[in-house]
Each structure stands twice: as C-alpha cells, then as structure tokens.
C-alpha cells in the first residue's frame, strides 16, 4: 500500500527530440499568420455555410461527405465563440469582426502540423532508420500544397491526419503483437486504428479506401496468425475476435455516433427540409412540424389532405390539380381526354388539397381526373373515362395488420381500380399548357416497387361541417401522437444517409477542375485567393521537385518489387528475409496507400481538383525515403557509390527546399509579387497563376 515510502515513484520518459523538433517546426509552418488573410479563401465559402448552420443548429443536407468533418470545423467555430452570422457567398469577401478566423482555421492547421511527426513515426515503425524517418517528415513539412491546404478551413489535412493515424496505430499495434499481445498498449493501438479509420471515413467518403487498405493488411496478418501453430485455438479465436470488434464493430458504431451527434445538434428546420420525407421534416423544430402539430393522425373518409410524392425527384412536389384542362391534341398529334389536369406541383398551394371520399356513398371520389399521357415508349397509353375514378389504397409500410392510413407516417400507393395502373410521378415537366409543372401518370407496365409511385399525406384536416367536427374530435384525442418520437434514430440516419448518397450535383464544370492524369505530373493548379488590390495571392501548387521524385520513387518501388519477387520465385534471395518483409510491408502500406487514394478517382463522375490528390501524395512522400534508404543500403555496391548517392540526395533535398521557398509567397499569400515575378514562377503553361493586368 504505502510502497512509495519504501521505493520512490520513478517516472522515466524517453523523449525523442527529433519528434519534438519536428512537431515544433510543423506547428510553426502551419500556424504562422494563420488568421491571414482575413477573407474567405476558396472552399471556405462552401464549408462556411454549413458551419453557420451548425452554429444556428439549423438542419442542412450536404452530399459531399459525412458530417464528422463539418462538425470538427464547427467545433473550431464553437470554441472561438462564432455566432454563425456571416453571409458565405463570395470567395474573397472580407470576414466581419464576429468571425473568429484563427480558431476556425486552427483544427485543420493542427491536423496538418501533426502529420509531420506522424510521418516520422510511421517510417520508424515500418523498421527504417531515423534518417529515413526524418526525411519523410521533412518532405511533409516543406511540401507547399500540404501547407496551403492545412492553413485554411478545409478538410483535406484532417483527412490526411486520420489516414496517417490509422496507419501509424496499426503499425504500433502489429509491432506490439510480437512481444506483448493483449497488453494495454496493444489494445489501445488496435482500438485507435478502428477509431482513426472511422474518423477518416467520417471526414470524407474517400477515407473508406484507406480503411479498406488497413483492413486488407490486417486480414493478411490475421491469416498468418491462423497459420501460427504455436498458438492455441482459443488464443487465435481471441485474436480474431479482438480484431473484428476493433476494426469492424467500433468503426460502424463511431460512424453512427457522428450521425447521432449531427442530428442531435441540428434540430431546427432549414432550407434543405424539402428534400427530406414528411416524417423527417416533422421531426425538426419549426417548419413542417409547426403546421402538422396537432393534426389528426388517422386519415378518414372526408379528410382533406395534401399528398406528397415520396421519391421527390427531380423536385419534391405535391399532387395538384387546377381548372385548366389537357389540350385537345398533344404536340405529337395524339388525342387527349381534354379533362382537368392533374400534376405535381413543387410549391404549397390551395390546389394541392384533396378530399378522401368513401366510394360506397359517393360516386365521385375527389376531383381526380385519372389521367396519364405518353412520356416514353414504356408508358404508352391514355385512359380517361368518366366513371373510372375509384382508386384502391395500398399502404406500403404497414407495420401491423391494423392497416390504418396515418398522416405522414404511412406511405401509400394509389392503384386505379379499373386498369390497375399506379399513380406515379414521371419526372418529366409538362409543356407550357401544363405550366411547366411535373407530370403525373398512371404506370401500368412495371409493378415493382419504386418510390416515385409512393405518396404520403403531409397536411391533414377535416371539413367544417358539424358532423365532421365531431368525428375529428373523436379521432383526434385518443390517437394523437408525437410524430417525431415515432421516427427512431436509425430511421432518420438511414434516410439522411441515403439522401446524402443520392444527392446529385449537376455542376460538372469549374475553371480549375482537373482530371486525375493531370495530378501526377502537376499539370494543374487552383487559385485560392487574390488580394483585392495587390498581386498577393494564395495558389494551390505543389513542389514540383517533390512531386516528380515521389512519382519516380513509386515507380522504382514497383519495378524493384517485381524484380525481387520474380527472383525469389526462382530461389534467388537478394535481400535478407527481414529486410524483404519490411520492404513488402512498407510497399503495401505506402505504395498501396497511394494507389487506393488515387486510382478510384478515375472512376468518379464528379468535379475533381488538385487537392483530391493530396492524401495519395502523402503516402508517396512516406515511400520516397524508404526507397532512397533501400537504394543506399542494398543497391550501392561500394562506399564510393554510396557517398555519391548521399551527396545526390542532399543536393536533391536542397533543391526541393529551394523550390518550396520560391513558392512561399503563393503558399502563404503574404507577399505581393510583381507581374514579372509571377510570370517567372509560371513554370508550366497549365498553371493558372493570376496576374493583374494594369
């Protein structure tokens, strides 16, 4: 108990001053003059608007990525005491005094700064020398594009941070696997791997590729573990279970947690409500909830309702009708019923109200003029007979056998009784005679489930007659429930995630957009900000020396790897076994990290920019010193060759530093360059550096 009386408590700490020094210079490079420029720089205009929504707790929908990244930026705003009052409308706009620019940019800058010591740690954990590790860290430190990207309120540096953290903690974990499995630090690093992976995915979807890579490496290691016959079956099972929990279960839970916090924070209705379902909207404060509050839950005969299409594409809309009739003859010469039009209208309107009538007592059910018109060759018919106005109701998401049509919650299909056609939003716009409203048709051919055939009641009320008022009271009081409580977190999460993934942005062109092929050779650049008067500007440009040598190193790695692999197959072992294993692991993580963060962009159909390449580039930078060290240790035959090679490396690194220094005015935007200086920096025609003309 009182052991400390007998033996003093000792704290011994190994402090690697290299790491400390690297951290300090990393912080310096990223935090220096962080609040400059006090103006909106490039995509800050994009993230800023969501930041303001967080500050005001207004719900929004953004298809570009999961909410964790946005929330981190919002955390910076929260810590800086930002009230969200800023109009994010223009790049270059001056920040007003209430915007805490420094704290908004702090988190990305910290993430960028910490990537420097982490690069050191990764290369060290991969089993290479301190020299190589320092080299990797210095490359990350001086790379202009990484500096620019981390000093602004953008998410790439955060993504890179979590990618590196995932790789680093996995390496720490697998290194402690050999000596101390199931120890506290083993557990810590294993769980941290899973957490870092989920954070990376939570910042941007592309983080999933690094996650898959780590999973792949972990799977190979686990397979080798299964083959280890010195371990008992129970022990192997324990290992596998621990990995499954930490690398599969933990990330999923974390991902759900991000959304949970996101939805808990954003509780007020806002401009993006319309895209969500009625039930989701009703769960937000204000907006639809205010209208639907207290309205009867169960739809009865005589109810007045508005019907919203569940699919809501191309725009959310309500079933609508108006006095105008279909034209006698359509443009393509087909005849029409010349009856009253039924459309889908994207605005609230008194003509969106419908009365549900009991077919047993009334001949005419609502002013529905059952109608469909030819949209494409698949929907090719035209029904319009006066007595055909009965529709059968099918509740799609019936949870129980009760089968009551509930406001907002029930999703229904309306099936025309005579022709068994299903009421559907075709997605086409009617011509001028239909006032460009959306076309509604009876779909007869395809009976499979599709959301465009599903509708739900949004607003609901009874008529004013005495009898109905009584019925309203009767229905109202016992079954009235709070709809927002009916919608579980999982339901809201699934809906939000689905809408985020299917949200399509149509703007595919941008002045600075580029293709993945441009990135490797640095054939593109992005202008981020220009000083309103002088030529001072921030321009996303990489250090071309580093980019070229990183690509060369990757190529050299692949060629060397294939060469060794083929020779090993013929039983010629050039490398000792442990060097070979190190070489393979470094390649799997670094070259693999580059490949998984780069190649998928070839298949993506969205606007791409140079900064999308930065995560891949970071992995290349880790590989570069590994290849250099390998060449020096294994390929230089004599001391002379080695010395020459070292001199070459020093010269190369000096030139890289020089280039970074030359690009510094564009990286930090702190110094105004004259047009001739700018022109001198334009080493490639494709670099679009802004030059004032006067």
């Amino acid at each position: 108990m009182l052991g400390f009386l007998r033996r003093p408590v000792m704290v011994t700490a190994d402090i690697n001053l290299n790491v400390v020094a690297l951290t300090v210079v990393g912080l310096l490079s990223r935090l220096w003059q962080l609040a400059y420029p006090r103006a909106v720089v490039f995509d800050e205009v994009y993230y800023g608007q969501y930041l303001s929504f967080y500050m005001k707790r207004i719900f929004f929908l953004d298809g570009s990525g999961p909410p964790f990244g946005h929330m981190l930026l919002a955390l910076g705003g929260y810590l800086g005491g930002f009230d969200g009052n800023f109009l994010w409308n223009r790049i270059g706009a001056e920040y007003s005094s209430n915007v805490p620019v420094w704290s908004l940019r702090l988190l990305p800058a910290l993430a960028g700064a910490l990537s420097v010591p982490m690069a050191y740690q990764i290369v060290w954990e991969l089993g290479f020398s301190h020299c190589a590790a320092t080299g990797a860290a210095l490359l990350v430190l001086i790379e202009s594009a990484l500096i620019t990207q981390s000093r602004l309120m953008l998410l790439e540096s955060v993504l890179i941070f979590f990618n590196l953290l995932a790789v680093l903690s996995y390496l720490k974990f697998s290194n402690s696997q050999k000596h101390r499995p199931f120890s506290a630090s083993w557990c810590f690093w294993l769980v941290l791997t899973g957490v870092a992976c989920s954070c990376a995915v939570g910042v941007k979807y592309v983080g999933v590729f690094t996650y898959l890579l780590v999973l792949g490496v972990a799977a190979v290691h686990a397979w080798l573990l299964i083959g280890d016959r010195t371990l008992s079956n129970v022990c192997v099972l324990g290992h596998l279970l621990a990995r499954a929990v930490a690398l599969l279960v933990v990330p999923v839970l974390m991902y759900l947690l991000f959304f949970y916090v996101h939805l808990a924070l954003l509780c007020r209705s806002g401009p993006h409500d319309q895209i969500m379902s009625s039930a989701f909207q009703a769960s937000l404060e204000g907006g639809l909830a205010r209208i639907t509050q207290g309205q009867p839950l169960e739809v009865a005969y005589g109810s007045q309702v508005t019907l919203k299409n569940v699919f809501g594409k191309p725009v959310p809309c309500w079933l609508h009708s108006h006095q105008n009739t279909y034209p006698m003859i359509y443009e393509n010469g087909r005849g029409s019923s010349h009856q009253q039009q039924v459309t889908c209208y994207p605005f609230k309107d008194v003509n969106n109200w419908w009365i549900v009538k009991d077919p047993g007592r009334h001949d005419v059910a609502a002013p529905l003029s059952p109608h469909a018109q030819e949209v494409s060759c698949y929907v090719n018919y035209n029904i319009s007979m006066p007595a055909q106005n009965l529709w059968r109701l099918e509740i799609v998401n019936r949870e129980s056998d009760s089968g009551v049509w509930k406001t907002i919650l029930s999703q229904v299909r309306l099936v025309h009784v005579n022709t068994s056609a299903i009421l559907k939003l075709s997605g086409a716009h009617l011509p001028d005679w239909g006032f460009r409203q959306l076309e509604v048709v009876g779909e007869k051919l395809a009976r499979g489930y599709h959301e465009s055939t599903v509708w739900n009641v949004e607003e609901h009320r009874y008529g004013k007659s005495q009898e109905q008022e009584e019925r309203e009271l009767e229905l109202h009081s016992p079954t009235q429930t709070d709809i927002s409580r009916n919608l579980s977190f999982m339901a809201r999460f699934l809906e939000l995630q689905w809408r985020m993934l299917t949200l399509r942005s149509d703007d595919l062109e941008h002045k600075y957009s580029s293709t993945p092929l441009d990135w490797v050779t640095l054939d593109t650049s992005v202008a981020y900000w220009l000083h309103p008067q002088t030529g001072a500007q921030i321009h996303l440009l990489g250090n071309i020396v580093i980019w070229a040598s990183a690509s060369l190193a990757t190529l050299a790695y692949v060629l060397l790897f294939l060469w060794y692999l083929l020779r090993r197959r013929r039983s010629i072992f050039d490398l000792p076994e442990d060097s070979w294993l190190r070489w393979v692991l470094a390649g799997a993580l670094c070259a693999g990290g580059w490949a998984v963060n780069y190649l998928p962009f070839f298949m993506m159909e969205k606007t791409l920019f140079l900064y999308h390449y930065l995560p891949a580039l970071t992995f290349q930078l880790l590989l570069l010193p590994v290849v250099v060290e390998h060449v020096s240790h294994h390929l230089c035959r004599s001391q002379l060759q080695r010395s020459l090679f070292h001199a070459l490396v020093v010269a190369w690194f000096a030139s890289a530093c020089h280039v970074s220094n030359m690009l510094r005015p564009l990286t930090y935007g702190d110094r105004s360059l004259s047009p001739s200086e700018l022109r001198a920096l334009r080493w490639k025609d494709s670099w679009d550096i802004l030059i004032r003309k006067h």
Binding site: I226, K424, S426, G427, A446, G448, Y449, S452, E509
Partner: protein
C-alpha cells in the same frame, strides 16, 4: 487421386478415363498417392469394364445433349411474332443481309452471325422488325431462332464437360447439366434471336477449353495442349466480339494464365528458355490470336456494310465517305480550306450535328435579342457558312486575287450564307448552360464588330498548317472573350425549334463538344479531289467505332423515375422480363429463372463459402485431413474456386456500372453458379457418405441425394415450363390461372 476420393462409391460409378491428359487436380497430389491410384484403378478396370465405362460416358453425354436440344427446340416457332429485343437484333441481322450501315453499342460478331444464319436459311432481309408483337407472317425467321437455340443448346454439354473435367465426377456433371437444362430462364433466353445465347456459347466454350488445357499441363507443347490453348483464344475473341461483357471471361482466362505461369516460374526444373517458350505460346494464343480474330470481325463488318444507312450520323464525316449512298461517297471537293469557301461545320461529338443558324432571334430575356445559332442534325441550306478574313471584306472569290489558304492560328470570320450574319459571341449567358457565353448571328451583310472574330486552331495532326476537309479537327476560339465554340448537347425549348444549344465555353478543357470539322466545302477556285484519298485507314476506323460504341454505352443511363433492374435483384430472381404479351388474351412469355434452381444456386454459394472457409482454415491450422477428404477438398477448393471466381467476375462488376442494366445481364454468371452448385452438392454428399461407416449405406446416401436433387429440379421445371414455352389465359394473380399458386414473389408478373 479421383479413385481414392470416392472409393466407397466406386462400384456404382462411371468414371471418365478417355482423356489423354490427366486431371488438373492430379498435379497437386503427391507422387505416392498417384502411384497407388494407378495401381488400384488398373486393378479395377479390366479391359471389358473400361470399354463399358467409355460407352456409358458417351451415352450419358449424348443423353444430356439430346435433352438439351429437345428442350430448346421444343415450340421454337412459338410465338410467331417479334419478342422483346428480337426487334433490335433481328433488324440488325437484316441490315447485314441488306448491307446497310447501322450503329449499335455492341461489337459486330453476334449480329453478323445472326445475319449469316438468316441468309443461309433463306431469309431475305425484307422484314422490318419494327416493334415487339409484329407478326412474322411469311418471313422466314426459324433459321435465326434455330441458330440461337443451337448455340444455346450447346451450353449444357459444355457445362457438363467442364464440371466433369474439374471434379472428375459424373454425378456432379449431371447435376450441373440438369440445373441448366431445366432452368426456364436459360431456356427462354436461348429460344429467341438475341445476342445472349451467342455470348454465353463463347463464354462457356472458352471456359471449357481453358479447363481442358489446364488438364494438359503435364504435357506442354503436345498437340492437344496447343489445340485447347488456341481454342481458348478463339473463343475469347468470340465472346469479346459479341458483347463487351465478354471481357470478364478474358479476365478470368488471364488470371488463370497468370497463376499458371507463376507456378511454372516457381518450378526450378523448368529452364528459363522453356519458360520463355511457355510465355510466348500464351502471348501468341491468348493475346495475338484473339486480337487478330477480333479485328478480322470488324474488317468483315465494314466490308459487308458498305451502303449508307441509319447509322451514318453517328460517325465522322470522313467515315461516311466510305458508304455508298451517302452524299459524301464518291464526292469530290477541294482538299484544303481557303478564304471564300462555303462550308458546313460538323461537331465531333456524336449526334450533335452541324453548326446552324436561321432567321429567328433569341426570345426576350434570353441574352441579347440577336439571331439564333444552334446545331442541327440534318443537312440543310442553313448549315452553310462562308469563311472570310477578319479584317477585309473584299470578295475572296474575285478571280483576280490569288487563292489564300486558311492556316492554323488565323483569325477568321464565319458568315452565315443565307442570312449574311456573322458568327458572334459576347458576355451574355448562354440560354441553357450556366457560365457559358451566348453565341449569336450578328451584323448586316457581313459587317459586324470585333466580337465576330475567331481564331481557328487545328487540334490533331497538322497537314502543313493548312486545314484539311474532313480530317482536320478544329477549334474556334473567340478572340475577345477567349472562349471556345462548342455545343452543350442540350435541347433548346420550342423557340429554338428543339435544336441543340451552341455556347462559347470559357473552360478550355478539350472535350469533343468543342471540336469541329469541315464537311462540305465549295470553292470554285480550287481543284476538287476525290474524297477517297481522305478515307480513314482501317486502324482509324476501328478506333473511331470503338469510341462511338463506348460513348453509346455510356449514354445508356437509367432515368430517375423509372423502375430499373438492380444487380442485387438478379440472384434472388426478384423480377423477370416480359418477352411477349401483357394481357390475359396475349401469348405471354416471361423471362424468369426457375426459382428452385436459382434459390438452390444462392444457397449453394453460401454453403460453398462456408465449407470452403472451414476447409481452408483447417488446412491453415495444420489439420491433417484423411486422404479421401483431402482429395474432395482439393476438388472443392480448386475446381469450385474457379467456378466461384467465374460467377463473381461475371456478376460483381455490374454493381460498378453506371449504364442501365437488365435482368438478362446475369445469365453468364448464372451458368457458373449452376456449375458450382453441381460440384458443391456432389462433394458435400460424398463427404457425408464418407463419414458413414458402411459403404453400402454411403453409396445409398450419395445416390439418393443426387437423384432427389435431379428429380426435384425436373419437377420444378414441369411446374414452371409455361413461363418459357408460353401461356395464354388469365394472369397469375387471377385464381383461375393454372399458374396461380406459382407466383411466389409479389414482384413476378406473369
């Protein structure tokens, strides 16, 4: 190894012995086991029984083939009208017979074979194949259907032989054959004029020859080895030549070849020279030969289709000059563009058309109220423009002046011939595309302002700085704003006569929408040359037609509000495709897999992963398996693994595809899935049998299991056969329908 596998069952079995090459799995077995095997088998197979076995095998193969042909050719003539995509492929067959040029997103081989079959069977190409449901009447269609059914029937013996080769087990092969024979989906798809039976034929043939050649690995460079290797190459060319999804079997064979070479490379007894020979043989048979054949199909395609037809507009002007009947064919025009020439300018993007203007203004509120400039797909007088120098207005056709050619980088003016207005652009937003500038016709009688000046640039190969008709690809760059003339491909509203929008884009990215070529060219001062010299070479034609096909494929995008088939629907047989008929009075054919077969396949994949996983982990943990189980697990892991890989590679890529997908895309994967089921159940039953003590009981369990599976499948086919052979009468949701009890899923509409 194989006799050791099922020793308990051996007596009841007919064992394949005919092949001159050993089983592929046999390679893996250690020498002493092999020796033991031969000793035992030689003991068992006396000459008489061997002859009996061989005869039995042939008889079985004949039986399988007969069943297959009988089911496929039964009621082949029904219905005597166009079903589903017959309207496309029948029509394309007719195009070959009529030799008219057309465009399709698939490579030509399949349609060429359909055309050939039609031609040989006396079809004259006069039927119009307008829309599904049209009666064939007196036209001969049975030749084409018969050809497809013939290839479709061969799938089953191929599957039988493949499984036999992989598992060395007749019951497994029989099971796989039965699954395919009695699958209504495979049957339906084989009975009509479609590309799918042809595609599946080549895929299965490639798979069979690959497996056969794997079995010959112990005797490299022997005649059968060469035969099967080159046959694999031929079939790969066939598969790729029918549809681009044939690429998946190419990948599978490629993977197999790589792993094969990797094994050889690790074998130190194989010298590097031999290794080089191996490599060269693969390159020759699996790369050079297929490519040559694939190219040959295109050569035939272009040779046969030499008349102008509905596909001309998809191709470039230079290409069209090849086609008889096209206005560019045998035409003669001046070769190099000169000032004063009257020209038409065609956009290089597919289906955009010619630069066009007409006497209508942009309406109020849409940019400046000046004359519209659009693109128009049809040939018209309003497509004619005169090319002039930017700074002089003198008539360049004045015979006293020398001819001056337009050169790369010149600054020019384009005057619309009919209205004498200049092509003009300015800082007004384009009518439809945001951030692009509006393009108008401006000025009176050719006098405008500096916004009418364009710099002409050649994008591709320079012909001595001059601009060559048809061949030079040009960009027109607006001098004042620096933007590029292009077409967005968007359809203008009614005020623009539903022609396509022309804009000036400030983004200088090179896209085909902003590249143009000169097509018609009139200049009396220049000598005309025959267009034949401008005709593209064969490699250029190949490249162009591939670009057009790829773009066509990418253009097939699903619409948001339509029901579309999703890849996850397919293996669960979620929804079929209507081949013919909708109403209860129609003759209805519905493409739907036999649910018993499909769901058994689905279960088998799961079971396979489970059992394969258990065995693999057990081996990795160093468990010592008994010899028989060892043999069976080799069949499961190697043979089954190849089939599983085949299923995956023919199925999973569809999840990544952006184009519109249909249910029938799953059928190549389904073939592999059926074969896997055959191998899996036979192996599992053998494993069950092995675990039983008495050999009689074991034999009984195995035989009973296989037999009950076979009978169950046959019975389910009896239930579902009207789907394929056609049904008339009430729909299945009607309780009076004979199919009423069979609508097991809500989503089936038959």
């Amino acid at each position: 190894m194989p006799p050791a596998v099922g020793e308990g069952l051996a007596g009841s079995e007919l064992r394949p012995r005919g092949g001159r090459c050993g089983s592929q799995a046999a390679r893996a077995v250690s020498a002493d086991v092999a020796a033991e095997t031969t000793a035992r088998s030689s003991k068992r197979s006396a000459p008489g029984s061997r002859r009996f076995e061989a005869a039995g095998q042939w008889a079985l193969l004949a039986l399988v083939t007969l069943m297959s042909f009988a089911t496929r050719f039964h009621r082949l003539d029904q219905p005597p009208h166009i079903c589903w995509d017959e309207t496309h492929f029948g029509k394309m067959g007719s195009y070959y017979i009529n030799r008219t040029f057309f465009f399709d997103v698939h490579p030509p081989l399949g349609k060429m074979l359909i055309g050939l079959a039609g031609y040989l069977s006396g079809y004259d190409g006069t039927f119009s194949f307008q829309k599904p449901g049209d009666k064939y009447e007196h036209h001969s269609y049975m030749g084409m259907r018969g050809f497809c059914a013939f290839l479709g029937s061969l799938l089953i013996p191929f599957a039988y032989l493949t499984v036999l080769e992989l598992s060395r087990s007749l019951p497994a092969a029989l099971l796989a054959a039965a699954l395919l024979t009695f699958d209504t989906g495979c049957l339906t798809l084989s009975q009509y004029i479609l590309l799918d039976p042809i595609l599946m034929f080549f895929i299965m043939a490639a798979m069979l020859s690959m497996v056969k050649y794997n079995s010959c690995a112990s005797r490299p460079f022997s005649a059968p080895w060469w035969f099967w290797l080159s046959l694999t190459g031929v079939n790969l060319a066939g598969a790729l030549g029918v549809k681009f999804v044939g690429l998946f079997i190419v990948l599978q064979v490629g993977w197999n070849t790589l792993s094969d070479l990797w094994h050889l490379f690790g074998d130190l007894s194989v010298s590097m020279v031999t290794m080089g020979k191996h490599l060269a043989a693969r390159i020759l048979c699996l790369i050079v030969l297929p490519l040559a054949l694939y190219t040959a199909t295109y050569a035939v395609h272009f040779m046969v289709l030499n008349k102008s037809g509905p596909g001309d507009g998809f191709f470039s002007s230079a290409f069209q000059a090849r086609l008889a009947g096209n206005n560019l064919h045998n035409a003669s025009i001046p070769e190099h563009l000169a000032y004063g020439s009257v020209i038409t300018v065609k956009n290089l993007r597919m289906a955009i058309g010619y630069l066009h203007s007409h006497r209508h203004l942009y309406p109020e509120g849409i940019g400046a109220r000046q004359q519209q400039v659009t693109t128009y797909l049809h040939k018209d007088y309003n497509n004619l423009w005169i090319i002039k120098k930017h700074n002089t207005n003198s008539d360049p056709l004045d015979p006293s002046l020398p001819v001056e050619f337009v050169r790369h980088g010149d600054i020019v003016r384009l005057e619309h011939k009919e209205t004498s207005r200049n092509l003009h652009s300015h800082y007004h937003e384009a009518p439809l595309t945001r951030k692009h500038y509006q393009v108008t016709g401006y000025g009176i009688n050719g006098t405008g302002d500096s916004n009418d000046f364009w710099r002409i640039e050649v994008v591709n190969r320079k012909f001595g700085n001059r601009i060559k008709v048809l061949r030079s690809r040009i960009r027109l760059i607006h001098l004042v704003t620096g933007c590029v003339l292009g077409s967005s491909g968007k359809v203008l509203p009614k005020w623009g006569w539903e022609q396509l929008e022309v804009t000036c884009t400030p983004y200088l990215k090179e896209t085909l929408g902003s590249v143009w070529n000169v097509e018609d060219h009139i200049n009396p001062k220049l000598p005309n040359i025959s267009l034949d010299v401008l005709q593209p070479s064969f490699p250029e034609i190949m490249l162009e037609s591939h670009m057009v096909m790829i773009r066509g494929n990418n253009g097939l995008k699903p619409k948001d509000n339509e029901f579309t088939s999703k890849p996850w629907h397919w293996p669960i047989n979620y929804q079929g495709l209507r081949f013919s008929g909708i109403n209860d009075t129609d003759f209805r054919v519905y493409l739907l897999g036999n649910p018993v077969v499909w769901w058994l396949n689905l279960l088998s994949v799961a079971l396979y992963l489970l059992s394969g996983g258990i065995i693999a982990v057990a081996v990795q943990r160093g468990a010592r398996l008994p010899a028989q189980v060892e043999g069976l697990s080799q069949v499961l892991l190697r043979g089954g693994g190849q089939l599983l890989f085949g299923w995956m590679i023919h199925y999973f890529p569809f999840f990544l595809m952006g184009r519109i997908l249909y249910f029938h895309h799953y059928f190549p994967a389904m073939l592999f899935s059926c074969m896997l089921t055959g191998v899996l159940w036979d192996t599992l039953l053998r494993l069950c049998a092995w675990s039983l003590a008495s050999s009689a009981l074991a034999r009984g369990v195995h035989a009973l299991g296989i037999l009950s599976l076979l009978l169950g499948i046959a019975y389910s086919f009896y239930l579902f056969h009207p789907l394929a052979y056609g049904m008339v009468g009430p729909l299945a949701q009607d309780p009076r329908s004979p199919m009423a009890g069979l609508r097991w899923l809500e989503s089936w509409d038959f």
